[in-house]
Symmetry: C5
Subunit: 355 residues, 5 copies
């Protein structure tokens, strides 16, 4: 758990600000750069492994360029991208720092966003946050992804086929479409988690509460990861909506829609949290109820037999003169008496509804 919350910051301590250091898991994968340059009618695609390969040929005047960098573990690549597109050193530092929380930086020349893409690892029941960064300047959107399969494959396909709005609108709409893809991912995550919450609820109400206690704890930890990733997005998109320099009136309505989705995600996550807290209470209470039930029954058995044992003890005494012992039916009378005492205690307990 702790590893998903903070990365080894101390690698950076003492270095001058703006130093590009990859903070995150080291991976052997190569960095992949996907270039897309398109107008409503034309499209140009290129895949390269180094920044130098990126083609500069414009498709057409007013063409929109989308550069997607998959794999930010090589500081050199991030620095080269920075030089090519003229980004400030502080931005490059934040792109490479995969532990950075979501944020928006509004510079005079460009917008810089950090968001978290979340996936749910159904094996480990872990929420895996992935660092995603966007820089938006003029007609260029550069997106950075930590690693793994292309997050924006379906968007790329929609651009290729050209029947969506992305081709016809500006670069700010492309930025919106990228954000929307990330936020849509939250829905599938929450849906999968919701199924699990439903299962837990069934288990809890079915009585097997103690077994789920541990899982609820882990679930709540996951909620912490989600909270840290989604909550800040609300403010970030709000500020994006109000940024008149970069976002056109038209795109604003679409961003308001993403804003809605973020709020709904938060809403659902909060509901999960409340439900889990409720389940935990139920689990605790069922658990202690069961324990009490056991203790009660056991104590009752003990309590009924202790007076009986006492009576047996009395007739086991070795006094010379004990008249009952001489009686012919003494033994059976004693047994009957014991039976009577046991029964009446049982009835008494029953009446008090202790049994």
């Amino acid at each position: 758990m702790i590893n998903r919350i903070y990365q080894n910051f101390s690698q950076k301590a003492g270095l001058p600000p703006g130093t590009v250091v990859h903070v995150g898991e080291k991976t052997e994968e190569r960095t992949r750069i996907d270039l897309m340059r398109f107008t409503p009618t034309k499209i140009f695609e290129q895949q390269c492994n180094t920044v130098a390969e990126i083609a500069d040929t414009a498709v057409d005047a007013g063409a929109i360029t989308w550069v997607h960098v998959n794999g930010i573990h090589q500081p050199r690549v991030v620095e080269e991208i920075g030089r090519k597109f003229d980004f400030h050193a502080l931005i490059l530092e934040d792109i490479a720092n995969t532990g950075h929380r979501p944020k928006i930086d509004e510079w005079d020349e460009y917008l810089f966003l950090v968001v978290k893409s979340l996936t749910y690892d159904e094996q480990s029941l872990f929420v895996m946050p992935a660092h995603v960064a966007f820089v938006f300047r003029d007609d260029v959107v550069v997106s950075f992804q930590e690693s793994g399969p292309d997050l924006f494959a379906s968007l790329r396909e929609r651009i290729r086929t050209g029947n969506g709005r992305v081709r016809k609108k500006g670069a700010d709409y492309l930025l919106y479409a990228l954000l929307d893809t990330v936020v849509d991912g939250y829905y599938s995550l929450l849906e999968k988690m919701g199924d699990r919450v439903g299962d837990l609820e069934e288990l809890a109400l079915g009585g097997d509460a103690s077994a789920i206690f541990h899982e609820i704890h882990e679930f709540r930890q996951e909620m912490t990861v989600i909270r840290r990733s989604i909550w800040p997005l609300r403010d970030i998109i709000s500020r994006l909506e109000n940024n008149e320099a970069f976002i056109s009136e038209n795109t604003r309505h679409y961003l308001a829609d993403v804003h809605d989705h973020v709020i709904q995600s938060i809403d659902i996550a909060e509901t999960f949290r409340d439900m889990l807290a409720g389940l935990q209470e139920i689990a605790l209470s069922l658990n202690s109820n069961k324990m009490n039930e056991i203790m009660k029954v056991l104590t009752l058995i003990a309590t009924i037999f202790i007076p009986l044992t006492f009576i047996a003890g009395v007739y086991g005494m070795n006094f010379k003169f004990m008249p009952e012992l001489e009686w012919k039916w003494g033994y059976f009378a004693a047994l009957a008496f014991m039976f009577l005492v046991g029964c009446s205690m049982g009835i008494y307990f029953k009446k008090k509804s202790w049994l």
Copy 2:
């Protein structure tokens, strides 16, 4: 529970924004469209099953049109309505998405509202939220309802008989009347729930606390559904009140009244929540008190008999030389001694008020 909180969002993931997908339960019912067009003196009503049937003949200049669409599970119908009245694709998407949280969208040309109508299923003790959407533009109000019996039957009747204010005032007053109907529904819901809270309180104070523990938990879950539906309305109606483009000065006072009702609903719901939390505490405490009471009495019985059994054990020993055993009244003396010990322990416990 979990199903009433979120619907299968993932159906939508990866689709371009503005795609109209019905997110909600599938139903076989046909969509019903009720048209009402009225002036203070004239009225025209029509019921149709398809959008094409909607009559365009105006009753009179300045007539107000109310189109009520009952059943939004057919994306085609929603899309046709959208085309007929020229609504933005993002709005159509939200109309069809029955899982959407309450919201207000203020476009230049129209207002768009999503609210939740709540009914209380007294069988299952469930709060059933129904998705309701309004679009208000010029003299037209289009209302959408998820399914089920007409939510606005009483309002429709009032318009027909013409003795209310709706006929005399503008379309903004019609919008107010629709909202008011939804919010009035909260009152009946809360009243029914209040009766149930009262029952629970009586049960809890009557001592049968453990039985209600489970029900309190479910009640609190229902409160989550209510909270998610009513809370956002406060801001929504506030913003509506301040929207000078669509709402006239006159209608503002009426909206302030609905605002008051929403706040009162929230207030009552919060009070229920506090009461339930209090009842849960009481239930828990009564439960553990009862358990303690049982354990105490049982332990006391055991404790009194254990020393007595010990005494009996002593005189059951087989030593050759045990003077008491030879005594004539030894047995009775032993019994008397046991009786004495038992009594004095009982008295001691009584004095310490442990019994």
Copy 3:
């Protein structure tokens, strides 16, 4: 409890807005209308049972009129008052709705306030909220009271004798004086409750904690009633202070004083709540301490005798060859041994401070 929180709202559902329906307890009492019209020098008083009887003769130019309506269960009376003084239908609806929360409505022509007068029924230990409404317009203040004895008797007396400020100042000062009377009532309420909290504290610290648990719960419920009545007043009086159209500079300072009193009332109520929460904790902890104490002592007794009983059991065995049984002092040695074992266990427990 539940009845004091919400009234049967559903009586109103489906009715057009502005319908005057008495929501509250039905009572057979007649409505009483007290009219007072005064200048610094002259005064005119009248008591009537119907609105028609209200005299219109002005005492003098600039005279201030105070109409006090005691009993709002007759919708007809409220409606007639509304017609006479030209109040909006929405206001009449809220006057008759005794379940309405405190609020202020600032209309162009008049101010409308709803507040709650609180009395403490020392028999049932219940806080009884009474619905009070004020309408202030030009030189007229109309006050409405749910029922019961005249809330403003002492103020009326002060006006009659003419030695207070009310006669010399404007109608806004009269409104202030009415509000002040209601808020002063909170002080006596809180003082009485404070005495009760003090009693509870003494009981709790005196050890009889379990007995008060139930009462603390009820007290906290009462706090909910108080909170719902007093909290909203803070904002209401704030807004009143800032209303330059109706409130003169001079009266503002007096309203600031009432504002202070409201805040102090809230402050004290909050303190009570904190103290009650603390007492409940103490009560719970004392309760469980006592139970633990009992269980500990009982278990100790049982624990000491169980090994002794075992020893007695050993010498009760019927083996042919048991050398100790033949010894002359065997019996007394056994008794002494048992005594020794019992004592050393007692000392051990003492040393571990378990006794």
Copy 4:
């Protein structure tokens, strides 16, 4: 406790506003009035018992006058002061009401402040709040103190010797110096309480947790008194800082310093509260741990001996034909068997780490 939170408000109910009623403990002490009038170079001091005695002779043009009234239980004195310096009746009411919460009233002609001076009674471990009020107008500062030794003795001394800044600066600086003296008192209070918190912490961690439970509760009650006294000061001093009519630019920096001190006091008090909550948790947990420990050991002893007693019981049966009883070494074999059973149970418990 309850007495330090609210005074008998009801003495005032029904009286017209502005009536000066001493609300607080009655005391027989006489009121003392200390007058100080000074310029950077000259100083004039006078002690009187009645308002009439106050000398009017100005020392010099621009001299600053400080009137300190110690003892406000005589309404007549407060009223005379009010007449002499022309204070509004509402202010006089608040000066005499020792239960009033801290506040600032900004009138056109003067500033009025109520603050609480706190002292820690180390005998009773109670925080004693004392009512202090300031009125500041032109070159006059009038301070009121409930009773007891002069709160401002050290300040008075500093003015007398004339080596501080008070003599050289304006009356607003004098007001600052008075406030600073009160706030400095919070530091000594918190320091003494901090020592006590430290003691409690040591006790709690030393294991004697149950003993401190009660004291922690009382401590938290004291925190309520402190919170009610210090928290409001933050806003009060903020508003004072921003009052350009009465406070000069120069004094503002000094007030900012007091503001800092208030925030630090709040900060420390909050930390105490957190620590106490933590200690309470520890105390509770240690307490229940200890109880569990006892119960566990005792139950273990009982559990080991119960099977042994059973074995002894078996060989105490009186069957005619029991072969073991005839064996020569039967008795010793039985003893050995019992020893074995006891030991193996002990080892089993040890291995499960239950012992």
Copy 5:
């Protein structure tokens, strides 16, 4: 713990404001003053022990001066620095008061900042806050450090080698670099604490929960120290960012970066707090689970043997006529019967899953 939260404030009570009193631990170390004066090309360094030694020779026009005072326990040194650079007495007081909370004071002529540098003492597991103050005026930055090794050694080295930005930018950038160094220290602190949280988590989930209870408590106390040190920085840096008089546009971006780091530190600290609260719950629940487990097993053993002992007791009775005793196989039948009873109870418990 308590010592790290507040220092002996009372040393200062009663002194006039602006008196420089060292509030903190006394130390025998000498004060060290490090002077650095540099331009992009030239650099001048000096180490002195008294303020008088500080050289005034400017290196060049536009040179930036950084005076670092290590050790503020000698009031005289702080006062001399104040005189030399013309600081207000209130500032000097706050520099020497090591217990002061973080703050920013914006004077007309200079900025004054108090921050806390945090180090983690891995021996005692204590967070040690150190008082750091900055005064920034024109081209001079004076930094004060409580004691210990030079906090800014790495920054000093970077300035010396001249390959960072500090040499090329203004004095505001130097101030930023100093702040950044302090905030970077929070990262290493949180990383070390995070490792410890991870260890605790492993221990808790591994079942040895009771052992960590105490440590979690201490950890939460440390969190209080961190919270008090880092939280206020958020506002302080925000205000610094918006201070246009002292901070250039260029440096603002860098300060925004520090602001981000502070928020991330807070975020991580909050997450630790949540995790610790979760761990504590787990620890408590595991602990009580284990105790319940023990009690259950022990009670079961007792419960099985009590009826058996009763049977043995019955056949130990000394009645003359007890037919079973005469049977040849009576003893073995009894043993078999006991075995049966014991087994069937065991099976019953097993079936109820109580074992």
